[in-house]
């Protein structure tokens, strides 16, 4: 008997049972894959660093003497350390597939270094296997360069390197996952060659730098290390090194937000569906009670049914979660090794949890059975709803057309019924808005000031690699004059300038740190930069410091700090605090007139061009092409493009890929949710629809009524998402920018794109899905109005 009722129920309420099953499958899939992905993403860097044996402290210097100074300290304190030598290579001396038809220049203009396996941290190939050997003539590139370079490298491609008058051709063996040099944020890429090849290039004439890695848990290490006041061009501790991967973590953060939203969506869907399907059962519950079946037996019947459906859904969801999870993760960074995600125990636990959640929901929903008398269940609870109040708007006072009024009134008079949809749509729109805001911020010109650069119209990628033996100042001045002269010859007036970075040490009241400093060379003044507090340095003895430097040494505006540049140590007054995402937030800005020792110049940003004759957009495009003609060996960027190039252009591409994936996922979710919900509504509102048809409402009007409800919910969801997007962007993505040193973040919001374009795409697809489903109204005959609801 029990089984008979169950079988008949499953067959008779096929539509609702199918809807429930599909939603359970969806929930199990989302929850299982999201939980697994969350675990992978949050533990990824730690596990990668552990595998790669990344040191606790790492610094790089060009001076052998500096290394010797450190060796003395390390031996004295018994620090475990190792050093590795790197050869610096000019990217212009690298050719790809030379002599072949597809031969070309190397499309990379940042620093390139070459090393061998000896004394290296562990490096991994694309299959996450440790690289044990590099044969003569083979070369590995960092995974980021191999995968994302405009050179589109393939295994087997040839690379010819010329350095110090020697040339050798290599065959690319593949990309390597390198914890130290893997992130594009480092501004340097690494070639790994065999020991023999390395020795071939290594002689006294080539530029080299030394990487020193220390493994220690000594709390006083940093204090002792800073006291050495070494001239370093890079130093970082292990947690600092993690922040270099911040851009990879931006994509991970986006993935985390997606996962959390998908879990929330699943929960909302489950609750809605179970409540909805249970409410359909109330009349039957009443009849069963009336004929004397006791409460526990009735409850047991439904729990058995939901158990069967949820087990099928849970198992199906578990299997679907595996490929879906992989699909979501495949866009995450391929620079790092993700923890082994083929352990599907989490997926299994999550799928099982979904079954338990369904049964718990069902248990609590069926709790109402006890409270209802048979007649209550038959009469009032035929749909589980009680009508405590009518709509809050009135047709007789409204000017809305009837159909629009009905749609609005339905939502307003039964908000709970549409709440699930509102939450799902809001989360969906948020999932789209947050990555778009992030992308637009990363692409915006405002990032130029976040990198402590002055505003300009174009940037030429002529980054200087300074040699300690040359007259660097004259070299910079000559280069800037050359650019200005070329522009002037064409009758174009422009300020031409460049940010020069210096290796400096700053100290204040006994606290000291080494930090890169910047000074504008050429036609730029300190008042052209943006500061958080205070005013631009106006004299030679004034500086601005970044808030990270300010926090580290404890100096505030008005304080006098000591800064050492090479052999010179001077006192400076702090006049401004600024934010910079350069060098992980560490920075000091000197007045343009201050005479700094260019022997200790560490490098520069590109040459910036700011036109003084206010050219329009079209003219700017033409001038960009002209600059390209002037400097055929270099790249010419707009400020936004340059920032993308600096932080690793692939980050924007990566998030853009994720954005497209999210958009596709959201459109699928919305379509599915809309189709299933509209189907549920049609089942439930069959009587009302038949009555409206009997009254003379056309099918098209009724379809519009159903679609309008979806459209209105989506409209409200867009407003809600728009309101929530800024605080949620700050909460989810803001910390990433903050880690990089940007304290005061205002996201670049393009209203037309964020609040109009994408919501309209989602609206069109969702409403279309709703309208298409609602066309089933045609199957409901007006005469069904006589057969009861």
């Amino acid at each position: 008997m029990y089984l008979q009722i169950l079988k008949k129920d499953l067959r008779r309420k096929k539509t609702m049972n199918m809807i429930l099953l599909i939603f359970i499958i969806l929930a199990a899939t989302f929850i299982a894959c999201s939980a697994n992905n969350m675990l992978s993403v949050t533990t990824a860097l730690d596990s990668f660093f552990e595998k790669a044996e990344v040191p606790d402290y790492w610094f790089c210097t060009t001076g052998k003497k500096e290394v010797e100074k450190y060796e003395h300290l390390a031996k004295e304190n018994q620090y475990d350390f190792c050093q590795q030598e790197f050869i610096q290579i000019d990217p212009k001396n690298v050719k790809v597939n030379p002599g072949k038809r597809e031969g070309r220049e190397f499309q990379y203009s940042k620093s390139v270094c070459m090393s061998q396996l000896k004394d290296s941290t562990k490096l991994f190939d694309k299959n996450d296997k440790v690289i044990e050997e590099v044969k003569k003539g083979e070369i590995y590139l960092t995974a980021d360069l191999f995968r994302n370079s405009p050179d589109h490298f393939k295994i087997g491609d040839e690379i010819t390197i010329t350095n110090g008058g020697k040339t050798r051709t290599f065959h690319i063996k593949g990309g390597m996952k390198d914890a130290m040099f893997g992130s594009s944020m480092l501004g340097m890429t690494k070639f790994l060659v065999s020991g023999e090849d390395y020795r071939y290039f290594n002689d006294e004439n080539v530029s080299k730098f030394y990487s020193v890695m220390t493994y220690t848990e000594d709390g006083k290490f940093l204090e002792r290390f800073n006291k050495l006041e070494l001239n370093l061009f890079f130093s970082v501790n292990r947690s600092g090194l993690q922040t270099i991967y911040i851009m990879d973590m931006v994509t991970a953060a986006v993935m985390l937000v997606v996962s959390i939203c998908l879990i929330l969506i699943s929960m909302v869907i489950l609750r809605f569906t179970i409540n909805f399907t249970m409410s359909e059962e109330f009349r039957e519950i009443g009849v069963m009670k009336a004929i004397g079946i006791c409460n526990p037996k009735i409850r047991g019947l439904y729990i058995t049914k939901y158990f069967a459906v949820s087990v099928v859904g849970g198992i199906t969801g578990f299997f679907l979660s595996i490929p879906f999870g992989k699909l979501l993760l495949q866009n995450l960074s391929q620079n790092i090794i993700l923890p082994d995600s083929s352990n599907y125990f989490i997926n299994l636990v999550c799928a099982f949890s979904v079954v338990v959640i369904v049964l718990l929901f069902c248990y609590f929903c069926t709790g109402k059975i006890k409270r209802f008398s048979p007649i209550d269940a038959i009469r009032n609870g035929e749909n589980g709803e009680r009508y405590s109040r009518k709509g809050i708007i009135h047709l007789n006072k409204s000017r809305f057309p009837a159909v629009l009024f009905l749609a609005c009134n339905d939502i307003l008079s039964n908000i709970r019924r549409f709440a699930a949809m509102l939450v799902i749509f809001t989360l969906g729109i948020l999932l789209i808005i947050i990555p778009i805001n992030t992308i637009n911020t990363l692409k915006s010109d405002k990032l130029l000031s976040w990198f402590s650069m002055a505003e300009s119209d174009h940037v030429i990628s002529v980054e200087q690699l300074f040699d300690t033996n040359c007259n660097n100042r004259a070299f910079v001045e000559d280069t800037l004059e050359e650019v200005k002269g070329k522009l002037s010859d064409k009758g174009i007036k422009a300020d031409v300038f460049q940010e020069i970075m210096f290796r400096t040490n700053i100290s204040y009241k006994g606290k000291r740190m080494s930090s890169l400093s910047t000074q504008g060379a050429g036609g730029v003044t300190t008042d052209m930069y943006t500061y958080l507090e205070g005013s631009a340095p106006q004299n030679n003895n004034e500086v601005g410091i970044s808030h990270i430097v300010s926090d580290t040494v404890g100096a505030k505006i008005g304080d006098t700090v000591t800064i050492r540049n090479g052999e010179t140590e001077r006192q400076y007054m702090v006049t401004a605090i600024y934010q910079t995402m350069n060098n992980m937030g560490e920075g000091i800005r000197f007045y343009q007139g201050e005479d700094l020792d260019y022997t200790y110049a560490a490098g520069s940003f590109g040459i910036q061009v700011k036109y003084t004759d206010n050219p329009d957009k079209k003219e700017l495009e033409e001038r960009k092409e002209m600059l390209k003609d002037f400097f055929p060996d270099d790249k010419v960027f707009t400020p936004g493009e340059y920032i993308g190039y600096m932080i690793g252009g692939d980050v924007v591409t990566k998030i853009q890929d994720i954005k497209h994936l999210i958009l596709a996922v959201i459109l699928c979710i919305n379509t599915l949710v809309t189709v299933l919900m509209v189907k549920s509504f049609l089942t439930k509102e069959k009587g009302e629809i038949a009555m409206l048809k009997a009254l003379g409402f056309q099918n098209s009007s009724l379809v519009v009524w159903q679609a309008l409800r979806i459209g209105l919910i989506l409209f409200f969801a867009t407003i809600l998402a728009a309101l929530l997007s800024t605080p949620l962007s700050q909460v989810s993505i803001g910390p990433v920018f903050r880690i990089m040193g940007a304290q005061n973040i205002t996201f670049e919001i393009i209203p037309l794109e964020v609040y109009v374009l994408y919501p309209v795409i989602v609206l069109c697809v969702t409403v279309l899905a709703g309208a298409m489903t609602a066309t089933q109204i045609r199957k409901i005959s007006a005469s069904e109005a006589s057969r009861g609801e």
Partner: protein, 255 residues
């Protein structure tokens, strides 16, 4: 008098589990303007099906139904909806109304949807209120539909059926769910509406209800077996006599 509804060889067949069920078999009858016609017959004889097919709510298997000389068997779903909205009114046994609307809003809903009804929203509301006043339910205008009695709700349904000034009202057992007092009140209202010129066709099991009509069609097994004319009685005052004579006729028909 002008014919408002003419039914010729109407057939309606349902196919349930691959079995053909001929509910209506070559039904023929006409209704003239201003008539009040009751359809009676045993359960399952096809009364309601007849009402729904001639009103365009259900599809016709064969035959023709001319409503104001238009063959509704040949009309599209859209055209049929238009006719139902503007030229027909419906009253069901169950008092179907939208649960989220007040009684007055439910009544004026068809008027607000009608494109042919060119009155302003204010005028439509006014007319809805006039109808409610006429049927004695104006005090429940702003009430929720679960706050009123079945009789009041059925009268509200009659108001709704009248709101677009229909040519004909179809009522499917309009008093079937009401007690005797409410039932009499509702029938009085329908009779009044008919007296004012609106044609009424209703299905009923109740002799007292049918006795208020001008003509009674008796249907058995999907065929009109006979019809009884009550026009010879001039007024409703002779109700008892009408009921008795109708009862006798129905007995002859096998009721």
């Amino acid at each position: 008098m002008k014919t408002i509804l003419e039914v010729k060889n109407l057939c309606k067949t349902y196919i349930i589990n691959k079995r053909q069920n001929n509910v209506l078999k070559n039904v023929n009858f006409t209704i003239t303007d201003g008539e009040m016609v009751a359809v009676m017959g045993p359960s399952g004889s096809g009364k309601s099906t007849l009402l729904y097919t001639v009103s365009g709510m259900d599809k016709i298997t064969a035959g023709d139904v001319y409503f104001q000389e238009k063959n509704i068997a040949k009309l599209s779903a859209k055209e049929l909806a238009g006719i139902r909205l503007d030229e027909m009114g419906f009253v069901f046994q169950q008092m179907y109304m939208l649960k989220n609307l007040s009684v007055l809003d439910n009544i004026i809903l068809p008027a607000c949807q009608s494109k042919r009804n060119t009155a302003s929203r204010k005028e439509k509301v006014q007319f809805g209120q006039d109808l409610m006043r006429k049927l004695g339910i104006i005090e429940i205008a702003d009430n929720d539909i679960n706050e009123v009695s079945g009789g009041q709700l059925q009268r509200a349904c009659i108001c709704r059926s009248m709101v677009n000034h229909p040519k004909i009202i179809f009522a499917d057992e309009p008093t079937g769910a009401l007690n005797r007092t409410s039932s009499e009140e509702v029938m009085e209202e329908l009779a009044k509406i008919n007296k004012e010129g609106t044609t009424v066709m209703l299905v009923t099991h109740d002799i007292k209800v049918a006795a208020k009509c001008t003509r009674v069609l008796y249907i058995v097994d999907g065929n009109i077996k006979g019809e009884y004319n009550l026009n010879r009685y001039n007024s409703l005052a002779e109700l008892r006599e009408r009921e008795r004579s109708l009862n006798n006729w129905l007995m002859e028909m096998g009721w």
